[in-house]
């Protein structure tokens, strides 16, 4: 059975069928890309997986567990982390604090111990910090550790958001347009990070992406979406050569 499955999921906003009967599955350890024009419903699929929206139909299964109706804050604990298209960092906190918040789903210390900051709380903090430092080393964020997010350039913020997601120790990582707003070199670096995340950390990745060079470089399979419907699904060359996909990108109604 597949690692992650979306079975005929659908959601409507008013009259718009943002996601319409979409079915796909993702194998453990692969990079799965979702492409499509603006408004195709890519981000909405992520929002359905993170349980920000409830699907009007269909089923989501992760690692053998039905997650269709689970509470949104429990998703991270199951091992699904995400980044956002427009960066949703905690802007008035430092990089270190942001990354530590990524550890939240692993905190087990009782609230009384936290209030009194008992030795158990102190030990847990140190342990979290060590995990965070691993991510800082992995993404080479050392010199930004104490910087406030609001003072960081956009490209660094993207890496920090990726780092925050990694701090949750995810099994499945959802990346929403990891290259948007980045220049050519930064995009290339982002591609390397994604490959390392797949190869070194063994994390399964679903990414929404516009930059076809990045998609071809890192993804194993691609799903093309338009008006909430699946146009094509296959390897990057297959999907890029698909006549439906070409028509959707060049314009005109399908």
């Amino acid at each position: 059975m597949s690692y992650f499955q979306a079975q005929e999921i659908a959601i409507q906003f008013g009259g718009i069928r943002a996601v319409d009967n979409v079915t796909f599955d993702v194998q453990q350890g692969e990079v799965f890309a979702i492409i499509g024009p603006n408004g195709a419903g890519k981000t909405t699929i992520f929002n359905l997986i993170s349980r920000i929206y409830a699907p009007t139909a269909g089923k989501l299964v992760f690692d053998g567990e039905d997650i269709t109706t689970i509470a949104p804050h429990r998703i991270a604990g199951l091992g699904i982390a995400r980044t956002f298209q427009n960066i949703e960092l905690f802007a008035n906190a430092s990089v270190l604090q942001n990354l530590l918040i990524g550890r939240h789903c692993h905190s087990r210390v009782g609230w009384m111990s936290q209030l009194a900051f008992l030795p158990s709380a102190r030990r847990a903090e140190i342990a979290h910090r060590e995990k965070v430092e691993d991510v800082i080393d992995f993404l080479e964020l050392q010199r930004y550790r104490d910087a406030l997010i609001a003072n960081l350039p956009y490209g660094v913020r993207k890496i920090v958001e990726l780092g925050r997601a990694l701090c949750t120790e995810p099994k499945l990582l959802l990346l929403d347009e990891p290259s948007s707003g980045l220049n050519v070199e930064e995009t290339e670096v982002m591609g390397f990070w994604i490959e390392d995340i797949k190869k070194d950390l063994g994390i399964t990745v679903i990414m929404v992406e516009h930059d076809m060079s990045l998609v071809s470089a890192v993804s194993d399979r691609v799903m093309a979406l338009n008006y909430g419907k699946v146009l094509a699904l296959g390897t990057p060359p297959e999907v890029q050569g698909d006549p439906e996909v070409i028509r959707a990108y060049i314009g005109g109604d399908p």
Binding site: I101, Y154, T168
Partner: protein
């Protein structure tokens, strides 16, 4: 300039960042302990009042400065704490017990207002908490069997282990102890997952949730802790005023509390203390200059509340960092002079690329 070399992770979770901090805050504490022996009754009493307001400032800072939830109901929380303490004392309950009960009962009241308003933010939350305050002000007035209504309630003199806490000096020491306790709790919260969850909710609810933070739970916790601490302050406030009248806990007091956190500087405990000092000193300053003001401005009714409102607006517009932000800039200037650059101290507007792309 002081450079800090960190060699252990413990240094980032320690309460004092370096030996300089330990020295200055230790010195401050010693001075505070000796003040009642030196200053007159009036000043000691005023400082006691400042400590009580500082407790509320820290409490409201947790809710507004760190969790991003506005409250105009904190005067009511103060009232619940004050009446709980006074009524229990009158029934012969020992002070330490009645103080604890005041904190706990007010924390429960915090949950009672926090849960129904879970989905509200900003303006709507302000109105909801305002309504809550108005309802409670009515309860304080009408529930005469317990509160004495407009006849007032004479607060019994408390004692701890047989030691009567009398006069300005007694309130001064107890308030100082409670303030230190509340600050210790707050610093613990801020260096724990709980405090980080609050900051996360303040800055982005959607990503807080996707990091595994239960929004409803932590907003409720924040309300409960903030209200509970305000309840402790209320208990002390009862002794500070000695005679409880229901109209003491009105919207103007809530606005003063909000002024503490905004003028002090959002997201800073030091700011809460500085803000409390400001709010306590402003009426004194008005009293001093009152008679010298031209055109009879000094005798205008409502001068004090309007001034509070005006200052609140001016600070939000021109110095969002509050007194604390100003203090940080001054400190930086002293450390860097003569190498400082004027531009570091000008207000900067930075546009993130994501904002421009929208």
């Amino acid at each position: 300039m002081r450079y800090l070399f960190k060699t252990r992770y413990e240094q980032d979770i320690a309460l004092a960042r370096h030996s300089g901090d330990v020295f200055w805050y230790g010195l401050l504490l010693i001075v505070l302990l000796f003040i009642p022996g030196v200053l007159g009754e009036f000043y000691v009493g005023e400082l006691g009042g400042l400590f009580i307001f500082a407790i509320v400032g820290v409490a409201l800072m947790i809710l507004t400065g760190y969790t991003g939830l506005v409250s105009l109901g904190h005067a009511a929380f103060l009232g619940i704490g004050a009446y709980t303490n006074a009524v229990l004392l009158a029934h012969g309950v020992p002070f330490l017990v009645s103080l604890t009960c005041a904190g706990l009962l007010t924390a429960i009241a915090g949950v009672a207002i926090g849960v129904p308003t879970l989905r509200m933010t900003g303006f709507y939350l302000a109105i909801a908490t305002l309504a809550f305050g108005a309802i409670l002000a009515n309860v304080f007035q009408k529930w005469t069997a317990v509160t004495g209504g407009f006849d007032g309630f004479a607060v019994p003199t408390p004692s701890i282990f047989g030691l009567r806490i009398e006069g300005a000096t007694g309130i001064y020491y107890v308030s100082l102890a409670v303030l230190i306790f509340v600050m210790w709790l707050t610093f613990n919260i801020l260096r724990s997952p709980m405090g980080r969850a609050m900051v996360a909710i303040r800055d982005s609810e959607i990503s807080a949730q996707s990091m595994g933070i239960n929004l409803a739970l932590y907003k409720t916790i924040s309300f409960a802790i903030s209200a509970g601490m305000t309840g402790l302050a209320g208990a002390l406030f009862a002794h500070y005023v000695r005679f409880l009248a229901p109209d003491a806990f009105d919207i103007l007091l809530s606005i003063q509390f909000l002024t503490i956190v905004f003028v002090g500087g959002l997201g800073s405990i030091r700011g809460a203390i500085l803000g409390a000092a400001f709010v306590r000193l402003l009426p004194q300053a008005i009293a001093i200059v009152r008679d010298d003001l031209p055109f009879g401005i000094g005798r205008m009714p409502g001068l004090e509340p309007s001034l509070f409102g005006l200052i609140l607006v001016l600070v939000i517009l021109f110095e969002p960092g509050g007194i604390n932000g100003r203090w940080l800039k001054l400190k930086q200037w002293f450390q860097e002079v003569p190498l400082h650059r004027a531009v570091s101290f000008r207000r900067q507007k930075s546009y993130a690329r994501s904002e421009r792309l929208r």
